[in-house]
């Protein structure tokens, strides 16, 4: 090891940065690290959702869809594509933050952040932004793949982008909360398998809930994913089962509630501090 006195001096000691600047640089650093993480393992994180989406489009969109005919005034493939994109976004936003945060806990490198002068809301925002980035990457890839099956034209780009970003934010926060409580890798697969998958499949991805009997129609109204899928479909196709503001209201209310829960847990140190 080199140990000359000259090299030991803190020659580059800059001025003490403000708290806001420290947090901003820390946020950018964390988001960069998160993006680098899922891009490094793109074969596990980006490709499989695109393959699944192709299968959905081939089987449900083309093979079965051609026999179904029209759904809600659109060809079946046009109807399911927004739902398939949204399903990929939801699943991947959640998976990214739950697996990244839990790995950081499991390998203890979450301590790198806990000892640093970074506010908990910045840590939460960093992991959530990482989840959103992966969700959007996968969503864009699935949308690109869907062009091989149909010519989708986006009716309302701003609404489409707003709904997809807010939805992926919501599920990325959910992923962080799951990983805060998780004690083993089993614990991070319970929610995706037993909660998220049923909610997305029953969230109007493959059908319009207008087709359901009254009872199941009313039950479906309690499924928040329904409003997200419909909001996204509104952005792309220009129509949905509900008024658009319902979608935004549900998403924003859930974001606020889950963000408050996540911050409370982190401030108390649940799952990350003794």
């Amino acid at each position: 090891m080199t140990t000359s006195n000259e090299t030991m001096n803190y020659t580059e000691q800059a001025e003490v940065p403000s708290v806001a600047l420290v947090n901003w640089i820390a946020f950018k650093t964390l988001v960069t690290k998160e993006i680098r993480r899922f891009m490094r393992i793109w074969v596990q994180t980006i490709v499989p959702p695109a393959v699944s989406a192709v299968l959905y489009m081939v089987i449900f969109g083309k093979l079965i869809g051609e026999r179904i005919g029209v759904m809600d005034g659109y060809s079946y493939i046009d109807f399911v594509v927004p739902g398939i994109i949204m399903m990929a976004v939801i699943t991947n936003s959640y998976s990214n933050s739950v697996s990244s945060f839990f790995s950081a806990k499991f390998q203890h490198h979450i301590e790198e952040l806990l000892i640093a002068p970074v506010h908990n809301w910045v840590i939460l925002a960093g992991f959530v932004a990482g989840g959103v980035c992966r969700g959007l990457c996968v969503g864009a890839l699935v949308a690109a793949v869907s062009l091989f099956f149909t010519r989708i034209s986006v009716e309302n780009p701003l609404i489409t982008i707003a709904v997809v970003v807010l939805t992926s934010t919501l599920f990325a926060i959910g992923g962080v909360i799951n990983s805060v409580f998780a004690k083993s890798f089993d614990d991070i697969s319970i929610v995706p398998n037993f909660v998220l998958t049923p909610l997305t499949y029953l969230g109007g991805i493959f059908y319009s809930i207008k087709l359901l009997p009254d009872f199941w129609f009313n039950v479906s109204l309690f499924n928040p994913v329904l409003y997200m899928v419909n909001g996204f479909r509104h952005g792309i196709l220009g129509s949905s089962d509900f008024p658009l503001w319902w979608s935004f209201l549900v998403i924003v209310v859930f974001i606020l509630i889950l963000a408050a829960i996540a911050l409370h847990l982190m401030n108390k140190g649940v799952g990350i501090k003794s």
Binding site: M1, T2, T3, S4, N5, T7, M8, N9, Y10, E12, Q13, A14, V16, P17, V19, L21, V22, N23, I25, A26, K28, T29, L30, T32, K33, R36, R40, S103, A104, Q107, H108, H109, E111, E112, L113, L114, I115, A116, P117, V118, H119, G269, K273, S274
Partner: protein
């Protein structure tokens, strides 16, 4: 100016275990300080609280005069931690680990990259900068943790058993490195199970046992209060049995080495006279360097008995 002031620090875990029972401790700025204690004494808990990894149950901590509770962000900027367990992302490269850690402390990327280069070179890790950290040896991983703790250039560096499992050659070079860092102005707090390490490096020491500070002061002062010192004697011929010495405790290390405990102030002439009478010829003699260990063991065993 104190780098660290702890008063009445307490920690009771959820299971009721009282890890810290109100410790008071001060570390001068610029000091090289040892925090010693047996396993489970409360060292890592105390360090965890100082570094915001563990919530305290009571008491106050000041870092360079700033209250940790009131000015946590500012205090954190001054602290660097080398934890006991390897805790970096093993899939990342050393360069990325250091630049990322610097970013968490608000160091801009160009400066962070420059500093990462500096500390990777200082710690002989520059050649490994772009390899995944999991491919590094145990000693390299330990050095990487030191580089990571220094990359934001803290004023107080806390090392929790930094040389555990490291071979003697690397350990010595790490000691030399830490001494230089300390001479350059960084206050260092060290916990270690190698008491020779503390005796060699540190000026002040606190000994913690069962959540209480049982002794604190200059290493030299504590050692002078030690009543005995041990010597290793190399023999010319193998000894079938150890010599029978009156007033000296003797332990046979192996056939040609004896360890002899001598009460401080007692004449050594009598020792050699007795050895000569019993036919033992001594070829060389050295002071056993773990005097602090002897003091520590006596103190801790006394504390256990109380």
């Amino acid at each position: 100016m104190y780098a660290l002031e702890i008063s009445s620090l307490q920690k009771t875990y959820d299971n009721g275990h009282q890890a810290l029972q109100g410790i008071d401790l001060t570390v001068n700025a610029g000091d090289f300080f040892a925090l010693l204690g047996p396993n489970g004494a409360g060292k890592s808990t105390a360090i965890g609280i100082i570094c915001s990894l563990v919530n305290s149950s009571g008491g106050e901590i000041k870092i360079f005069g700033k209250d940790l509770q009131q000015q946590r962000s500012s205090c954190k900027l001054d602290i660097g931690l080398v934890p006991q367990e390897i805790n970096f992302n093993a899939f990342e490269t050393p360069m990325n680990i250091l630049v990322t850690q610097a970013g968490y402390y608000g160091v801009r990327k160009p400066v962070a990259q420059h500093r990462a280069e500096k500390y990777l070179k200082l710690l002989d890790l520059w050649e490994k900068r772009d390899q995944p950290a999991r491919q590094m040896s145990g000693g390299m991983k330990r050095r990487l943790m030191i580089a990571r703790a220094l990359v934001h250039e803290p004023k107080l560096l806390i090392l929790d058993e930094p040389t555990a499992g490291v071979d003697i050659e690397i350990r010595r070079s790490m000691w030399e490195f830490l001494e230089k860092i300390n001479q350059a102005g960084t206050t260092i707090i060290l916990t270690t199970h190698y008491l020779e390490e503390a005796e060699t490096l540190c000026r002040n020491v606190a000994i913690i046992d069962q959540g209480r500070i049982v002794e604190q002061g200059l290493v030299s002062e504590l050692l002078s209060r030690s009543m005995v010192q041990s010597f290793i004697l190399d023999l010319k011929e193998p000894a079938l049995k150890p010599p029978e010495l009156s007033d000296y405790r003797v332990v046979k290390c192996d056939d040609k080495r004896l360890e002899i405990e001598v009460v401080i102030g007692r004449s050594m002439n009598d020792l050699f006279k007795q050895l000569q009478q019993q036919g033992f010829e001594v070829t060389s003699m050295r002071n056993k360097s773990n005097r602090l260990e002897e003091f520590f063991l006596r103190l801790v065993s006394k504390s256990d008995a109380a």
